[in-house]
Symmetry: D2
Subunit: 335 residues, 4 copies
């Protein structure tokens, strides 16, 4: 049983608290910290039997009872807190993106080099989703042969308010799809080209951001790939992928609440996709932590290491560059 | 929080223990009893933090700390244990079938009349399944108009060993489908006719049992219904239903582990249905207990009462009679 | 090239005229007859290059140029005209049902015995439908093993006006499904039991007819089967079948005009089934005549002979008897 | 009834001959010409009742009986023959691509300007396919709102032999998809970027060609679009499209021979897509000629004019340029 401290009690921190308490047998949450901890949050946390509740995350890092920390704080603090925890000898599970620059990620990498006993995992939960895992499994088993074309469709159900995002669509939303592209083809990205626009809310152009994008990529293993993104699909969260190869194709469709189909004079109607990432990916949040704790217990490699965390940020930065400069960008250009 | 004692530590008892521990927030298991309790079972139970572990179920019934009991013992003891618990003022959740004869169920009914404060629920978990619930919801909302034709397909992935079952296919397997027929049409059964045979393993005819059946029924509300059963579908657990009415139809298909579809030179292949009832209906085991506990906490009616328990057994007995006598049997013939 | 005369210029006669002219390479229509032939019909027929247009069908039967006749007249004349044609040495393709009584069909059978050179086919076009043929093919290839359960869903998009039908639902509509049950299981029916009612239009009870039915059957080869019928599915013509066996199941769904699926805030909506039998089964009308002409040209057996014509009517009569008498009826009771 | 002469008796010429003879009521083929006309081809043509069979296409152009010509000769002769026919006052239906250079298409355009009475149509048959037409219809009806993302998947079942193609993949295969992109979004292309490679048969690189490509595009109306191409999908001809917009999405899937699905211990398997373009698009070959003849008869605009013919070639040339130069190419660069 791994004793876990969660740093950050925002939405994703609470998701992990609940998920671990109910569904993860090899972990238990013993402490939680948030600088904005208030009575409401505290009483929510207490319901799960967590007794150590702090404002200062250092209390967690200094607690000898705690084996591992989940870094669920704001993106700009991911790297410094991770590094502090690593240096304190805690195993670290850090939410994505690790940082908005590669420099900070390199610092994490260095800290990890200095502490080879520390397990480190990045929170790319979609790798643990039943559908995407099934694609990778079929690929690993040779069922589709050599990878040639990957297609990922990733569309959110609702655009965030204009000006809300600190980061670009690529660092905030597509980063998951970039990691998925690497995961599904088992390869890094070599080069990419982006068409992006503000078709849903032209106002976000002022912020230098986009809400609709098509990112085409050349993978290091030779496969071609394309991601299409939209911030607002009126029918809900659209999360599909297909991998085509020399022997065939494996494709997944959206999950729904039930398989019920209604046939009436108006047509034959099934349910919309599950609304958003909490509904769609809940089980994957449990599975990623289960495997993180297994790696700690068995002293094996974690399934999503620092390389994946770095790659995804580099790809996102390359995508920004391509969208802004209107030219293909090689990953080797991003330092 | 309802304090629960589970009587019976066989497969279904363990399912409830795990399901309540991990997924049911308004209940906690405080005791468990089984006449064959052994070290292995005891240590399994202890892992979930249950401290009171007995051989004698009466320890549970006499424990003033316990609010409710789950009767998960063998079918022949369902009625006597339920009655004892009712008379001790415990709320009772009893697995299906309540009994193999109507007399015993009448005794439960009488005990309940004498203890109107006791909440009683029958373990027809499929009513809480996302797919079947979606059919009933569409019907209740008037989307398909008046019910005219109900079709239920219910096929197990693997036949039990010959001679294994004490009860007939109708009392052991179809009883869930009979309850489902009543639930989906919101009606009792008036009359039925059965074609049944031993097409998978002719040897079970010696035991007076069947492994393949088509049961057609006239519902009390006028709808016609048909259930088809097989003990052995080579592609897995086949659990589908469709309700057709004056305005349209609502139909459900099987659940799978993932939505992945593989296209190769051999065809376009999706996954088989989830293997069996534990995989397929796990969430419904949690939901039925959640709603049972809600009824206790809020002092409201439970969602599956004694009437459903009696109806399903009567229908099963009528089905046996029809299969053996080769004639339509009215429910009113079953006393 | 088989020279064909069509007797009867109603809807189905015109369907065959157009289908043969456009799609059947081994046949040509040279004559058409109808007692109610008028200018409009005549000019319709002439467009297809047919020059011999008569009121009296005997002109066709006596025409030495004509190799084969299609009997598309009213049901009560099917048998006498078929017999006349057989005796004149013409090959005969007769629409279903051959007659409403078995006596008349026996007379056709006797005429055929006396003229073994004559090819005779019954118009059960659905046997030539791509979907149903695919089920039978999978069964013949051993892919599902021994047949155990057959399910046929057959629902019309619109009920005929009350009092319109001379024949019962079983002789008019279900007769196709009865033939399909025999075709898909490659077996005759041994016994059946029917629940039938007038749920759409109670007024048709006065005519002794039904609009909703569930027919369960024991096939001669041991398989169990069930047909469900409705005269009015609001979402269109519902024509599905599934055959379940010891190795697996093969099932078909409805055809649509396109595969387009619209996803909006209201759900994920596909097209309704093709409206009715002309839209749904057009290609099968061509294919049945192609194979009839092939049998003539190659002097081989036709694919749907007098036995199928007799069986289907016997099953329909047995179904009527079961519905009216409320008991299972053996086919051997129908003489 | 439009009297048609077909120039070119290769595969596509024969397809039109058969399609018009059997399925197109408003046209009749009266003449056919091919420089390599031989006995076998002649006898094939005669079976359809065509009496005028020539080696020299000028016989058709000079025949006053003929209203319209179908130019089905080799690509390099499309333009000169079309121009000769236009100047002779014949209506012209020309197969795609009109030419491999824009200059030749401009010459056709000039000939058309000089003969405004002549109807001219390009053979983009997929516009008349039931699935793609359904997407455009949904878009025209406003069901998906403003177009934002278009995705086209177009994969052939079998790669042509290395060195077989005179033209690039873009002019030979993708040209249909380019036209489809314009058709489905009802817009021209403004700019595109291509990733292309020889992943199936590296040998074709020597010929400067590719067999796998992802083409991303910015449409003139602001929508983003992506086409993915492969010369060899082991599961057959993969022809799908989806159009996503401000109100929702409309998507189509592949057509199959039947809807039969087989469930066994190996999985749940449906049929592969129809094999190739003749199986998949046969009906659209009839429909495009029907509408061409309607335009002649009613003196209305043809549905696919010279603009579409020019656009598709320009896009193909831009795609070649982008693939070879590794940069985005604006359509305005192609003169």
């Amino acid at each position: 049983m791994v004793k876990v401290g969660i740093i950050g009690a925002g939405r994703i921190g609470k998701v992990h608290l609940e998920s671990i308490s109910y569904h993860v047998k090899n972990a238990t949450v013993v402490a939680m910290a948030d600088p904005f901890m208030n009575d409401e949050t505290e009483s929510f946390i207490k319901e799960f039997g967590v007794e150590k509740i702090y404002k200062d995350y250092k209390e967690i890092i200094n607690d000898p009872e705690i084996d591992a920390v989940l870094v669920c704080s704001s993106t700009d603090t991911h790297a410094p807190i991770s590094i502090e925890a690593i240096e304190a000898g805690k195993h670290v599970f850090c939410e994505k993106p690790l940082a908005n620059t590669t420099d900070k990620i390199k610092e994490i990498a260095e800290a990890l080099k200095a502490h080879p006993e520390v397990k480190f995992q990045v929170g790319f939960n979609r790798r643990f989703d039943h559908n995407f895992a099934a694609i990778r499994k079929a690929y690993d088993e040779g069922k589709i042969g050599d990878a040639q074309i990957l297609k990922i469709t990733s569309r959110d159900p609702q655009a965030p308010p204009v000006g809300y995002c600190a980061a670009s669509i690529f660092l905030d939303m597509t980063i998951h799809d970039f990691d998925m592209a690497c995961f599904l083809t088992n390869s890094d990205v070599e080069e990419l080209y982006v068409y992006a626009d503000a078709l849903i809310n032209p106002g976000i152009r002022e912020y230098g951001d986009f809400d609709t994008a098509i990112i085409s990529m050349k993978m290091a293993n030779g496969a071609l790939a394309v991601i299409d993104n939209s911030r607002q699909a009126m029918y809900g969260y659209d999360q599909r992928a297909e991998l085509f190869g020399s022997k065939g194709m494996v494709a997944t469709s959206n999950d729904t609440l039930s398989s019920a189909v209604l046939s009436t004079v108006d047509g034959v109607t099934g349910e919309k996709p599950l609304y958003f990432f909490l509904e769609r990916y809940m089980e994957s949040f449990s599975q990623e932590v289960r495997e993180f704790c297994d790696a700690i217990i068995n002293n094996t490699e974690t399934p999503v290491g620092i390389h994946a965390g770095m790659q995804s940020v580099k790809i996102a930065l390359a995508a920004e560059k391509s969208a802004n400069e209107g030219r293909p960008v090689k990953l080797s250009e991003i330092d």
